[in-house]
Structure formats: C-alpha cells, structure tokens
Symmetry: none
Subunit: 271 residues, 2 copies
C-alpha cells in the first residue's frame, strides 16, 4: 500500500519533469494507474485501484473476470468486482460464466464495446434478454466491456458499468480500453496465471526449429529434410530439447514451447 502510493507519486513527478509541462491529466491518470497496478501486491489492493479509476472514468461498477463457471471449473479463475451481491449470486446460480451475453460478445472482439452494441454482436436469445433485464434490475444500467484474451488461457474481460440513471462519457472509452487491459494483466500476474520463470530452459535455434516443425505435425525425418540435416540430427535436437524441458514426449515439448513463447499458435497451426 505504502509502496503503491510511493510509486504513484514518483510516477507523477517523473512524468511531469520529463515533458516539462503539465501532462494532459487523463494520460497522467492512466499512467499513474499503470504504475500502481504494476506495483500492486495483492488482489485486494488491485481491486481498490480499479474501483478508484472506475469512478474517475464516470462509471460506478467494474467486474474483471475469467469467463468460467466458477462452481464447476477446475481452473483457478480470476474474479474481482464491485457488482451488487445479488448479481453475483444470480450469476453463479445460473452458471453464466460462459453464457453471459456480454461475455459471449467479448469472445468475438479484441476491442472494447458498449453494451448497447450487444444486439449487433450476437444473436440475443430470450434468455439473454432476461439476463440483461435482470442486470438492469440490480442496478447495472449501461456498460462497456474490454475483452482480454490470451491463446491457451480462459477467456476474460473487464467491464465497467454505470448505476441506473447515469450515463458514461464516450470520450473516456479509449482510456477504459487501457485500464481494462492493464487491470486484467495485473490480476493475471497476482493470480500467478503464467508466472515468469527465470529458470525457463534455453533452447538453441536448431532445437526450436525442430520443435516448430514437430508442432506442425512433421515427423523427425520430414523435419530433417526441411532443415537439410540428417535424420539422426533432428532426433538429437528433439532429445536435447526434451531433456531441457524435462518432458518425455513431443506433445509436452510443443505445449511447453507454446507456453513460454518459444512457439506461437500461429506457427503451430500453419498449414
């Protein structure tokens, strides 16, 4: 907490001195938020920060969550929010994690969207309309949702909502895009979703080449032809790569390489 405050103050001083004049306040706000969430040491602290900036942006509520059915899922899932308790109870009772219309719409986008656009993004079923009506009943009037997706992880989003009778100002939505993404990233860090491992194994270029082709379904022999090396050499690279990751087969090898960024899904799914 003290630490977080210090960062905020330092950041402001640093930003101002750097450009030598008053920074546009909204950017200063965003930057301070960025530094504060990076320094946040607990989920509770993060929640406080998001709550504060939510109000700064003219919203009343926020909800940052993985789109999973918390009751049923074995996944460790993130959920931080200040929505009304009735809504959370209803949400969990109905198992809306994956079927909530706002969540479904966010699966189609990388950019944030206002809830008024829901009807254009997805087909609203009768149940969806009930869910929306219900949300208005508990005080969630209008909102804006920022998707947060990372390949291989549960989908997520960060929503901001107004209280009944209030509207938000569209001028601030660009900032909401950043705030939502930064908040999600911080939550992910604090939840240990993909901790940065300093002992991450190092692969040689050739090892990575071989994994790349293996992930695309090539046999070691095919890889050797593609790379212009001997069959045994390709096998050797795969052996050494498995040893470094401490795994026993190429499936796990590919998954580990995907997980720590040695490979991408774009690489692996190419035809």
């Amino acid at each position: 907490m003290r630490k977080g405050q210090g960062s905020v103050t330092d950041a402001a001083a640093w930003g101002a001195s750097r450009i030598g004049m008053a920074l546009p306040m909204v950017l200063a706000t965003a930057q301070k938020f960025a530094l504060a969430v990076e320094a946040a040491a607990s989920i509770g602290e993060l929640g406080d920060l998001i709550d504060a900036i939510t109000r700064e942006m003219g919203f009343r509520y926020f909800a940052l969550a993985h789109h999973v059915d918390i009751a049923r899922s074995a996944q460790p899932a993130i959920r931080i929010h200040n929505y009304p308790p009735e809504w959370e109870a209803y949400f969990d009772a109905e198992g809306l994690g994956r079927s909530d219309p706002v969540h479904r719409a966010s699966h189609l986008r990388n950019l944030g969207f206002p809830w008024t656009m829901l009807g254009e993004l997805i087909d609203l079923t009768r149940r969806d309309r009930e869910i929306i009506a219900r949300s208005k009943c508990v005080g969630l009037a209008d909102g804006y949702t920022v998707p947060a997706h990372i390949p291989g992880e549960s989908e997520g989003s960060c929503s901001f909502a107004t209280a009944a009778g209030r509207t938000y100002r569209t001028e601030w939505l660009p900032l909401a895009q950043f705030v939502g993404a930064a908040a999600f990233a911080a939550a992910r860090r604090l939840a240990g979703v993909r901790p940065i491992d300093s002992n991450r194994p190092h692969l040689s270029d050739r090892q990575r080449d071989c994994i790349y082709w293996a992930a695309r379904g090539k046999s070691d022999w095919e890889t050797s032809q593609i790379l212009g090396i001997g069959h045994d050499t390709a096998i050797q690279h795969m052996k050494e790569a498995r040893r470094r990751y401490g795994v026993i087969n190429r499936t796990q090898l590919a998954i580990h390489a995907l997980y720590d960024g040695a490979l991408t899904f774009t690489d692996a799914l190419k035809r």
Copy 2:
C-alpha cells in the same frame, strides 16, 4: 478505499470535461481516431490514419500484422506498416515462417509491452538477438507492441517504433493500447473476417479426457489405466479425435485442443 487517489481526484481536465468544456486534446485525438478508423473504407486509408496517429504519439513507425484464420480458411493475412523496406525484405527473406521475438512475446500478453521487456517475456536465442540487432540497423530503435487476440479466430499485433536516436514518451502508451486495438479491429473488419467460427469440431467427453491425459504426456496405455477403460478404447478415442480435427498426430491434436479452448495450459501443464 480511495487512499492514494488524491492525486487523481484533482484532475482538472476531468472536472472540465464534466462541465462541458473542451476535451483534453489527447482524448479528442483518440476519439477522432476511433471514429475515423470505424469509417475507413480501405486498407490504404486505414494505414494513413494509423501513420498519422503514430506520429502524434511520438513514434515514427507502425506495423499491424494480422493473421487471419490461420488453421481453417485461407484468407489473406493483412500486413499494414510503414517500416523501412529493407526490414520487410529482410524479414520475408530470412523469416521462413518462424516468427520474430516481438510476435512471440505478444502471444503471451493481453497488454502492450515495450520491446525492452522482450528478454523477460521470452527466451531469446542467438537468432532472435540477430533479428533484434538487424532491426536496429534499419532504423527501428525502440518500440511498443499491442497484442490482439480473438479466440479461435485470428491473432495479431500492432507495433509502434521510434526512429534511431529517439525515445517515445511513456505517457502516451495508454493511448497506444487503444490505438493498436482499434486499428486491429478495423483491419479485421476491412479484411472481412467472418465473425463467428462455428466450425469447431465437437469432441465427445471421452475424447476430451484422452486428449487431456495425452497433453500431459501420458501414453494411450496409461490413459486407459487412468480412465479405467481398455487400451484399445483409448486408442480409438484418440483416432476419432484426430479425425475430427483433421490432424495426423497427438501433438497437433493437443495444440488444436488448446487453441480452441477444449484444453487450457493449466490442464496441460499440471504436474
């Protein structure tokens, strides 16, 4: 709790905009950009818009790389950029499909990141370091990359880079997050990406069970013991799952299952 937020509350611009005065310029810029890209009618027009705002943000170069529907349909990928031609030539010549380190790192994040953070995000091989050195040679000094992911559909990123000898202003990075996301969304719209991929193969429960254990490195025999079924049955489930995804081995099977959410890294990397 609002502690440490005093510095935010005194935001003069916020107060001003609430009472109807002129918007802070930077927000006006962002909003104008949002409206302009939504209205853009061609890739060329979109490129011009991104170029303009790139310079406003204190960068010199941008590159929006769009990977459309990698696995299934053969839609052309979008690449819009104003990088030096030497760089594009180098990349097309040397790339050979293996993605550059910036792209790899972007697959691990939902939030933008400065290139200086690359070494923390992923393991850099010798070749990666050469690529980075090469990029500096052609004038791409430092940069910031905004990831853009949409589940099951397309992946990409939008990067902003400074010219040699220049630095960007960190105050503008929150805006870059929005600009990158909005530009990507626009590119996606202009490329005519279909909104919903409903062609995902359906897996039976048992097939998913078998893939789950296979992704964790188990042999079919081990899986059969875990699930209490016969060895041949486990083999049969894997066969059918491969057939449905149209892949030829378990490595690709696991990758596809991860990619479309039938599995997550949390599942696959459990000890």
